[in-house]
């Protein structure tokens, strides 16, 4: 960790220091009721440079943007949570299910690829068995793999246990 979370967010234009801890974000959070996600506390931890990158709550946000729309200080709370997630991923943390989805996109080009059941349903509906996405155009898949190698994504996702 070379840069503090508060500095990182300020550098990216998130004015988290203006948060007055009113709790409007937490009050409107659909996830909070069930997951325990406390948005107000995340913003507070980030401001105080506490260990927010290892906070599991970061991954309980459904990105519904209710808090961001309602924040009386206009803080882009969800975008800030996404930025903190990015920092966590780049420092080696990723939930196993998310790593798996990312690997599927690299190998198939789709997060939810076609299966035999869907092929049968498509046929029944009079649609082509393979949709006109990269499932039908294998050259496109090569492009996507090349692109994701170029951006460093393939390497980022492959790291099971970076030290």
């Amino acid at each position: 960790m070379t840069i503090k979370p508060s500095q990182l967010l300020e550098d990216m234009g998130f004015s988290i220091q203006t948060c007055m801890q009113c709790g409007t974000c937490t009050g409107g959070c659909p996830s909070g009721t069930y997951t325990g996600l406390n948005t107000r506390r995340i913003v507070q931890s980030a401001r105080r440079d506490q260990d927010v990158l290892n906070d599991n709550d970061l991954w309980m946000c459904t990105t519904c943007y209710t808090c961001q729309e309602r924040c009386p200080r206009g803080i882009k709370i969800v975008d800030a949570i996404l930025a903190l997630r990015t920092e966590a991923v780049h420092s080696g943390f990723m939930l196993p299910a998310h790593r798996m989805v990312a690997q599927v996109v690299i190998s198939k080009g789709h997060a939810v690829p076609i299966n035999d059941n869907a092929k049968g349903q498509r046929k029944q509906l009079g649609l082509d068995e393979l949709p006109a996405t990269m499932h039908k155009f294998p050259d496109s898949l090569e492009q996507v793999k090349k692109l994701l190698t170029s951006t460093g994504f393939v390497e980022l996702i492959a790291e099971e246990d970076p030290k």
Binding site: P131, A132, G152, F153
Partner: protein
């Protein structure tokens, strides 16, 4: 630009192809000039990929948009997640020259370039603005006598800054489109609440994600809705298959049929349930629609 390329995404063609069929039938009926966006990939999903690595998210999204630019068509999405990713990426690419330059460097490696000549549309927003309520009404052949719980989903309207779709707390354009089919959009508690699937929560924390879905099922049942109509296949999956998962979890059966808006509209335009794959949903719609369509 009113001609569009259909961006299918992942869940529509690969899990709920009935929505793809309904979309194409509806666009044909309404005389919209559409084509498939050939070779498109995952959008990629906004809540997860954007949070893993922004430059990768932007590169993949920009490739999809560039494919549509080459066809001189706007991108038409049928999914809130795809719309969120592609419209946000399009906006950033058009307004941040530094990001655009970096992203185009990656695209150069596959002989492509983002030019910024296409817009990204969502089918509900597109129908509302381009066809209009009266345009829909003029085409309705079988008015639907149904009580509908409308589920906007989050990324259709939020973040609101670049969307220009009116209120996020009490929007009305989707309800109006639903009512144009003859159906009634009923009010229910926490109508604007998230289905619980987004942000990678469904994939990593399924149990909690289903609690959020069940919150909606309870309120929708209390309000006496015949069915749920959504604008997003990921919400659709969560609200349809989610009812099976909730039943497995706690034994409670809600049994509320779930339709994407294009499917509801297709019924009103005279297509059959079989035409648009309603029987392929996990919650069967048959009995609810009998005598009402």
């Amino acid at each position: 630009m009113n001609s569009v390329s259909i961006f299918l995404g992942c869940i529509v063609p690969n899990r709920y192809p009935g929505i793809e069929k309904a979309t194409k039938l509806v666009l044909d009926e309404l005389g919209v000039d559409w084509a498939d966006l050939e070779g498109a990939s995952c959008c990629p999903a906004p809540g997860v990929f954007r949070s893993f690595d922004k430059s990768s998210w932007l590169a993949l999204a920009s490739r999809n948009i560039a494919l549509s630019e080459a066809m001189e068509r706007d991108v038409l999405t049928v999914c809130n997640g795809c719309y969120g990713s592609l419209s946000d990426a399009n906006h950033e690419m058009k307004h941040d020259p530094k990001l655009a330059k970096e992203t185009n460097k990656h695209l150069e490696g596959i002989d492509m370039a983002f030019k910024g000549t296409s817009d990204v549309r969502h089918i509900v927003e597109f129908l509302s603005k381009e066809i209009g309520i009266d345009g829909i009404k003029d085409n309705v052949k079988l008015p639907l006598d149904l009580k509908v719980a409308v589920h906007y989903g989050c990324h259709l309207i939020k973040p609101s800054k670049e969307r220009e779709l009116g209120s996020v707390e009490k929007p009305s354009f989707f309800d109006e489109l639903v009512e144009a089919t003859g159906a009634t959009s009923i009010d229910y508690a926490d109508k604007m609440a998230c289905c619980g699937a987004g942000g990678g929560v469904r994939s990593a924390l399924l149990d909690k994600s289903l609690d959020m879905a069940e919150h909606k099922f309870k309120h929708i049942t209390e309000a006496g809705a015949d069915l749920i109509v959504n604008a997003c296949p990921f919400c659709h999956l969560q609200l349809d298959f989610g009812q099976i998962e909730v039943k497995k979890k706690n034994g409670i059966e809600y049994n509320i049929p779930v339709l994407h808006y294009t499917q509801l509209l297709a019924l009103a335009l005279g297509f059959s349930q079989e035409d648009i794959g309603l029987d392929m949903n996990f919650i069967k719609a048959g009995n609810i629609l009998e005598g009402k369509v």
